[in-house]
Amino acid sequence: MLALACPEIARAAPSSDLPDVTDEPEPPAETRDVDDEQLERAMTAFARGSAAYSDARYQQALGDFLEAATLYASPDFQYNIGLCYEKLGKPEEAIGAFETYLKTKRNVPDRANVEDRIARQREELERRAASAKRAANVTPPIEPEPDGRGLVIAGATVTGLGAAVAIGGGLGLGIAAGRRSDEVDAVTNGGNPDGRTFGETRDIADRGKALELGQVITVAVGGGIALAGIAMLAVGLSRRAKAKATSSSGAGPTATLAPDFGRAGVGLLLSGRF
């Protein structure tokens, strides 16, 4: 005679979850003659599963209940399996187990309770499907805008290069041109102490003018490069400011440097908040 301790199951599992089984588990018809050894093993697995369930080790409990169900085909095991799937968040499997329990159990005393569980699991399934659909309809995430760091570095480098060209070239060539100018002045206004002829003086003046032209070109080219660098720097700083504002929800200070083209001329506009 089987002596399944269903009250023990009820004790091992949360009382509100377990079926109110006080009689022996109802065996299936074709398993009435199962041997005692196999039944003993089923009861052992059932006991382990009950203990694991009580300890909230639902995956372990599920394994034990499935083993018990394999050894002894009781509808009550299917109910416990359904409980485990419910706890493990597998509504589809839980529904299958509960429906097997209802189909195989004769005179189901807690049919309303089980049907209610099946209904809740179906709702869970629908909720998950709707959520998946919403997730599928969401636009792909926009890649965060670059923070402008590269532009800032490149802009600073180009600005420095341009400034170096403009200042270095302008300074060097300007000094050289200024010296030629001084030499010509020494001839024309200083009494020509070195006794330079007109041809020599004209050559000096020509060299001075050539140097001045080179100075203007160098300053213009260097200035242009520097302006391009400043523009890159301004764009980079602006992007960085935006990125910082986005990351900190605008809580921190921001600064923006941008080229400004107005009637009075060309300049840079520095704006920000603190």
Partner: protein, 304 residues
């Protein structure tokens, strides 16, 4: 644009601001050896480019060219000649250390090889009469009037120097005077050909005729260089025939080639010769026993 750029350029190190005016007067250095030393119409004077219309000049009015001043036996060894000079040089007192002002200066008047006379007062715009002492001797005499700057440096352009050859003459003696080169003219040390010109009075120049018969007061000139001419003419040194060239007609130019020389002063001598190359001697009174005199002019030129 340039106005905007200039401050930046000045900050950066300066720029070319000088203006070169090719017409600037007295500014640019120059050299007579360079053909394009001065721009435009400027002339090279004392190593500076000057405007041609501002160059100081001097002109001798009296004595005139080849003028014969009558010999005055009674005045003694020397005589005074009132040389008249005009020009554009502004005469100023010669003060040591006075800075040079172009166009100003004083005159240096040299009679033959006498010490110079300084003239630093008066106005050359009119005619300035300068009493000059000469040796009271028959023959050619030379006067040089040179414009000198305040700082003592002679103006070196051609118009700043006036030369004049004249004669103190008895009216009968033939006379010879070298007009070119002028005493003190300098020539290079390497062999060089120079131009020799002379003024001749009362002597007709004709080409030489070998073994021709002498004609009265007719002949040509022999040009000697660096020779003791008196010894040569006496044929003591055997150099009477070592003349460099001849001048055979009035106004002609002799072109002797001077040999290589070391630096120094050398005599250049011209001698009147008969048509057959023999030495011409002028005998004012053939009836007396006094031998005739040879007609010679000699100057010193410089090799350097």
């Amino acid at each position: 644009m340039r106005r905007l750029a200039s401050p930046l350029l000045l900050i950066l190190g300066g720029c070319f601001t000088a203006d070169l005016d090719p017409t600037a007067i007295g500014v640019f250095a120059c050299s007579d050896e360079s053909e394009d030393a001065c721009p435009g119409d400027l002339s090279c004077v004392n190593g500076r480019c000057e405007a041609p219309d501002t160059l100081p000049d001097v002109v001798i009015g009296f004595p005139e060219v080849d003028q014969e001043l009558p010999f005055e036996d009674e005045v003694g060894a020397t005589r005074m000649v009132n040389v008249t000079v005009s020009g554009t040089l502004v005469l100023v007192n010669e003060v040591f250390g006075t800075p040079h002002v172009f166009g100003e200066g004083h005159l240096e008047v040299v009679a033959d090889d006498r010490p110079p006379v300084i003239v630093d007062a008066g106005a050359l715009g009119g005619i300035l009469s300068v009493p000059v002492v000469f040796d009271n001797t028959l023959g050619p005499h030379r006067i040089s009037v040179r414009a000198i700057r305040n700082d003592g440096i002679p103006y070196d352009h051609g118009e700043a120097l006036a030369n004049r050859l004249f004669f103190i003459s008895d009216g009968t003696t033939p006379m010879l005077g070298i007009t070119r080169p002028w005493p003190g003219d300098a020539f290079p040390l390497d062999a060089t050909t120079i131009e020799v010109e002379a003024s001749v009075l009362r002597f007709a120049l004709r080409p030489a005729v070998e073994n021709g018969l002498p004609e009265a007061l007719t002949g040509h000139l022999h040009v000697y260089y660096d020779r003791d001419i008196d010894a040569c003419l006496a044929d003591v040194g055997g150099c009477d025939n070592e003349y460099l060239t001849t001048i055979v007609q009035e106004g002609a130019t002799g072109l002797p080639t001077l040999p290589d020389a070391s630096a120094g002063s050398f005599p250049l001598s011209l001698v009147l010769r008969n048509i057959d190359h023999s030495l011409f001697r002028f005998d004012a009174d053939p009836d007396d026993d006094i031998p005739g005199v040879s007609i010679i002019d000699e100057i010193q030129i410089v090799r350097r």
